[in-house]
Symmetry: C2
Subunit: 185 residues, 2 copies
């Protein structure tokens, strides 16, 4: 696994990465601590501002880091990282520095203090936009304030969680543009 | 496209269908009207009660049907329905009965008045659980009160929207159970 060279990516186009529903790695930092967690429960909520809603269960070590710092980075891992993704979801930041344990590179973000995971395809810097559903559902609404992605490939090979230790690997691409009205593209 | 024969499916296991992030068809009914819309912005929020959060933009004809009836059915279409899914997303219930126009079968649900779409792989009967984020984000939190799915295949071939008329087709399955702690399965 090598760090992936990225450039700025338009925040209003992040649906490309999130809407197909991949499992993502959420990195966070607060005071002297940093952590990474896996997350499968997320949805795009708006193009501009670029909003993403997600569930971060309060049992996760990352929960308090994110709730207190009001920031995180949503990183989109690809297929080659699948074993690392599974392992990250099966250990705790309480006793493990996951960057060190899994040889992942913490790169500096520009708008938040949480680190980017350089080995992931895309990294989305997030600030808490609305926390009113945190207490009831552990549901955070983030605004993506800066996004990073490589120029190619346009569509990364992602992994999607089904529960029970089973994942779906993203398959082929099909264009259905011929059925779309111009205003819908 | 034929109707798919389904049996009861445990509502607490619906992540199997939704967490990988497929585009879904939302059917609704209110008074004399019924409709179908495509939806890509959704997330599982809880196992029990089985909660699903989703964005239904207020510009959709379905918005008022769902907001007023406080019910809908989330149907998971498979690859063979891809052109129909695209076409459904590119016409309006204002002037089209989409069940008739696309030769889809409206089957009776048991807990809600909205119809099931018989040609879809899975159908999830939903009741509004929390509407407090509707005004601000068009975000509905539904409880899945009854679910229907066939006994096989366990993992349907789904389609996932990337924007711009482009879809990803679900690919192969991989098990990473060997990396999971027992309590995480």
């Amino acid at each position: 696994m090598k760090p992936i060279r990225k450039t700025d990516f338009p925040v209003e186009e992040i649906r490309r990465f999130l809407e197909p529903g991949p499992v993502v790695l959420v990195s966070s930092a607060h005071k002297a601590e940093r952590n990474i967690m896996t997350m499968g429960w997320h949805t795009v909520m708006e193009f501009a501002p670029a909003l993403v809603g997600c569930v971060i269960a309060s049992g996760n070590h990352s929960f308090e880091l994110i709730r207190r710092s009001r920031q995180c980075v949503i990183n989109v891992p690809t297929f080659d990282l699948a074993p690392v993704v599974a392992k990250i979801g099966n250990c705790s930041g309480v006793d493990t520095d996951k960057f060190a344990a899994f040889k992942l590179t913490a790169a500096a973000a520009s708008e938040v203090k949480a680190p980017l995971i350089a080995e992931c395809h895309a990294s989305l810097e997030c600030k808490l936009h609305d926390g009113r559903l945190i207490d009831r559902y552990n549901f955070f609404v983030f605004e993506v304030v800066k996004a990073h992605a490589p120029r190619a490939p346009k569509y990364p090979k992602t992994i999607h969680y089904r529960g029970d230790g089973q994942f779906m690997v993203s398959g082929r691409s099909i264009s259905l543009r011929r059925y779309f009205r111009p205003g819908m593209l």
